[in-house]
């Protein structure tokens, strides 16, 4: 009886709010609640991984071993990388997708809401398992976030098995999240929302989701092979048993290179939303942005061995991967040119999201330049596994991925909470982060070129000065994130009321909804002209 009624009345019946108490969060199938859970989880992991980074930088402030022993240092570099990649950056993007994708395509929720709940709730268990290894006998994983065999198999601490299961769980969560996003975008678009009308954030996430589905099983495969080597006597990666340690690297980087694009494509999407809003001008080259993103994604499957120029590949292999890698600069360049062309003859204002987005463009491009240098195989022999690489990937990940997440958070917070965040505090957070990031990571270029290898707990005296500078910057950057946390919390608690459109130049379905967004939105599909 009830069912017939609600079917005839349509969606008006669904105006009920969230459940009461903790159950709301455990059992929720609401995309906004799950988005919120993902974002808080990611913030927590960002702060955890950040503390590990600060421990690393504190030890490296001066030559000599002061605070930690080398074995613990190795656990910190490993955990810092794993937590930031799988715990901070990826869940943050999934959280933003959960919140924004249904609202941007005019859908009432994600396509598979129960699976959505599950894909989030796996994560706290996966990361508890992984973090618990730090307290196990022999310590946690100490072989770097790239866990090259045989250091991660024959020579690994016993806790590696827990690490493998944690990675399996993260993979399951990511695959389910990706399936959900694809299903939502392909099936739940409002009538009239054609593919080439999708906001770029939705487009970049659609492509990212396909990358995730393609490569997370590869990661699961490689850790399973490790598990077999460790416990079941196989020799996939053990040369003494006829295996091949280099095979590990090929499989790992076949996952790993698309993985780095998984961490940057949604960032491109966020920035492509923010720059037009604050330039009050339509995004330049929408179609070419879509094509560029797709070509970056396709090329990402053909460049994995540029992480392995020093393993002794044959000349033809080196050349192929060098050329393919250089080619990625073309679509990436197109994106940067499009952003600059969007700003050109716009009418710009510089609120916090725009400041983060602009510094994304500049600093990500600097990371791109060092990436281009690294692509040149003969020169890469001098850069490989030095701090130059550390500088490169932190430039694309911190002021790249993480700045875009912060930009997105400030951009959409008023929509989520119904309050404006504190703009001066936001700007202070931006400038401290901007200065901190550059003081931390710019000197690392010099350290690497001058010959400092990465992942060392102690270093020769000629590297002392720039290390002290980098450590100082790291503490500036790290502590300034407390402003971010404070700003978010105070924005949730109150503040100036946000209008529905929030920003003068904002366009798109999400800005037609009230601020704060009601618990259920687009129960009836919007009309798209």
């Amino acid at each position: 009886m009830d069912t017939t009624l609600s079917q005839t009345v349509g969606t008006t019946d669904h105006g009920h709010g969230p459940a009461k108490g903790l159950g709301r969060w455990f059992f929720t199938t609401n995309h906004k609640d799950i988005g919120t859970l993902y974002l808080w989880f990611s913030l927590l992991m960002f702060l955890t991984g950040g503390c590990m980074a600060l421990m690393i930088r504190a030890e490296l402030f001066q030559p000599g071993l002061q605070l930690v022993r080398p074995e613990f240092f190795n656990q910190m570099t490993t955990m810092h990388g794993l937590i930031m990649v799988f715990g901070a950056v990826m869940p943050a993007f999934v959280g933003l997708a959960n919140w924004m994708v249904p609202m941007m395509v005019g859908a009432p929720d994600m396509a598979l809401p129960r699976m959505n709940n599950w894909s989030f709730w796996i994560l706290p268990f996966a990361f508890s398992l992984m973090l618990s290894t730090l307290f196990m006998e022999g310590g946690g994983p100490n072989f770097g976030w790239t866990f090259y065999a045989p250091l991660s198999t024959t020579y690994a601490p016993p806790s590696v098995t827990f690490f493998i299961f944690a990675v399996h769980m993260m993979g399951v969560s990511s695959i389910m999240g990706a399936i959900n996003i694809i299903a939502t975008i392909l099936n739940l678009r409002a009538p009239g929302m054609t593919m080439m009308k999708l906001p770029l954030f939705v487009w970049t996430w659609l492509i990212t989701a396909f990358l995730l589905i393609a490569v997370m099983p590869v990661l699961a495969g490689v850790v399973t092979m490790m598990l077999m080597d460790i416990h079941f006597g196989t020799s996939f990666f053990n040369a003494a048993g006829g295996g091949d340690p280099v095979l590990f690297q090929h499989v790992f980087w076949f996952f790993g290179h698309p993985e780095v694009y998984i961490m940057i494509l949604p960032a491109f999407g966020i920035v492509s939303e923010i720059i037009p809003t604050f330039a009050r001008k339509r995004l330049f080259g929408y179609a070419s942005m879509v094509y560029a993103t797709s070509s970056i994604a396709l090329l990402s499957f053909l460049v994995w061995a540029h992480h392995m120029f020093a393993v002794g590949m044959p000349l033809a292999g080196e050349l192929f991967f060098m050329f393919a890698t250089m080619l990625i600069a073309v679509p990436t360049g197109v994106k940067v040119f499009n952003w600059v062309a969007t700003m050109y003859h716009g009418s710009m204002t510089f609120e916090t999201p725009m400041l983060f987005a602009l510094s994304f463009v500049v600093l990500f491009t600097i990371g791109g330049f060092s990436g281009l240098m690294l692509a040149i195989a003969p020169a890469d022999f001098q850069y490989h596994d030095t701090y130059f690489v550390v500088a490169h990937f932190h430039y694309v990940l911190v002021p790249g991925a993480i700045f875009s997440i912060m930009a997105g958070a400030y951009y959409w917070l008023p929509k989520w909470t119904g309050h404006m965040y504190n703009e001066s505090l936001g700007k202070a957070h931006f400038w401290l982060s901007f200065v901190g990031v550059n003081i931390t990571f710019f000197p690392m270029h010099f350290l690497g070129l001058a010959g400092m290898p990465r992942r060392i707990p102690d270093y020769a005296l000629q590297f002392a000065d720039f290390n002290a500078v980098a450590s100082t910057g790291a503490f500036i950057f790290g502590l300034s994130q407390l402003l971010f946390v404070y700003n978010i919390i105070s924005c949730i608690r109150g503040g100036e009321r946000a209008t529905d459109q929030v920003w003068e130049g904002s366009h798109g379905l999400e800005w037609t909804l009230p601020s704060p967004v009601p618990y259920h939105t687009f129960s009836q599909p919007p009309v798209i002209k």
Binding site: Q62, L65, P70, E137, F284, F446, A464
Partner: protein, 370 residues
């Protein structure tokens, strides 16, 4: 490149460091024709990136300054231009081809491993290097000599802190040296920036690379692949000498090997063994088992009071000679000579309260090795 002079006084007030402090910002042009070519390639690419950066950021900042709302800028309504978009796809493509050509040429040269004058096998061990001059009867290990007191800040750090070894790799000037890289346990990577050689040393694989050092001198490098707790403590020192001096060194080294073999048949007193054994222990064993013999709980077992060091002598010798499968304990029988082995085992049985009074003779080691 950029000199960050403005940072100097600020940092100076933050930390006071030894005089060896330096602000090196670039890779070395190095000591070989290839390393100079790589340096030139690096600088070319760097300046191309700078040029692109100046143009892109120039337009961007010009827009930020002039096209801001506070200056009354009104947004224009253009959002695509096929000609411009094709142009800025093609121009980068052409620039990339221009970069790829010299890079390919250099890479082809670097891959020409033929016609070497000397072949040296380089083997990575946790955490030292082994150099074998193939066909020359020369085979030795090269380990870090920086004392633990310096690492633990209990003594002032020396000039070549963490970049000094007991036995450097010695090479002649002007000869083509071919390196054959492999590893005994995990993956290591052998890097000497001045030779522009960086190659992974992988267990079960042999990798090749080569260099023709053009000037005498001492060149330092480090392991560049994470290989465990001692990764930061296995430097590489290369001493390049004129041909005559190199040959003298070859002769001296061979002679020393013979003398060492002879000493294995001599009588050694307990005190002599313990004294020599302490040195061997500190360079070979202390990285894992620690100078205190306490090991690292959960990772490396303690030797002080351990059943192995206090129990059956032959069982103790057996573990040291052949290692322990499935653990990080290596087979030192192939790495150390009989005197070193006898001395270090004797030391382990008499240090840190392990007062067994046992003495192991080099002859006993030789016997068990046969």
């Amino acid at each position: 490149m950029i000199k960050r002079v403005w940072l100097l006084p600020w940092i100076g007030s933050l930390v006071s460091l030894p005089a060896a402090a330096a602000w090196d910002v670039n890779i070395t042009p190095g000591a070989t024709a290839i390393s100079r070519e790589v340096y030139d390639l690096h600088m070319t690419i760097f300046w191309i990136c700078v040029a692109i950066g100046v143009v892109v950021f120039g337009v961007m900042f010009w827009s930020i300054i002039h096209h801001r709302k506070s200056r009354g800028a009104e947004a224009r309504n253009f959002h695509e231009n096929t000609a411009v978009e094709i142009l800025w796809t093609l121009i980068p493509f052409v620039i990339l081809i221009a970069m790829a050509i010299p890079a390919t040429a250099t890479l082809i040269k670097m891959y020409d491993n033929t016609d070497a004058d000397i072949d040296i096998q380089v083997t990575g061990y946790q955490w030292k290097w082994r150099y074998q001059y193939l066909g020359q009867d020369i085979d030795f290990f090269s380990s870090l000599t920086t004392p633990n007191e310096q690492i633990d800040n209990e003594a002032p750090k020396g000039e070549n802190y963490l970049l000094e070894v007991d036995h450097p790799l010695v090479l002649p000037v002007g000869k083509k040296i071919r390196f054959l890289f492999t590893a005994n346990d995990v993956i290591h990577s052998w890097w000497v920036p001045d030779l522009a050689v960086k190659k992974d040393a992988i267990p079960g694989f042999i990798n090749e690379s080569w260099a023709i050092p053009e000037e005498s001198g001492i060149y330092r490098g480090q392991c560049t692949e994470l290989c465990g707790r001692g990764h930061g403590f296995m430097p590489i020192v290369v001493e390049v000498k004129p041909q005559a001096e190199f040959e003298q060194w070859l002769a001296d080294t061979r002679e020393a090997t013979v003398a060492q073999a002879a000493s294995a048949t001599e009588e050694w007193s307990l005190e002599q063994l313990i004294e020599h054994g302490e040195q061997v222990y500190n360079t070979t064993c202390a990285a894992c088992h620690q100078a205190t013999g306490q090991g690292i709980p959960g990772a490396f077992p303690a030797l002080a009071g351990s059943p192995v060091a206090l129990g059956d002598i032959d069982a103790h010798i057996n573990i040291v000679l052949h290692g322990k499968a499935g653990t990080a304990m290596q087979a030192f029988g192939a790495q150390l000579n009989a005197v070193d082995l006898a001395a270090v085992i004797t030391y382990e049985r008499n240090a840190w309260g392990n007062d067994t009074g046992d003495s192991v003779s080099p002859q006993r080691i030789t016997e068990l090795q046969q």
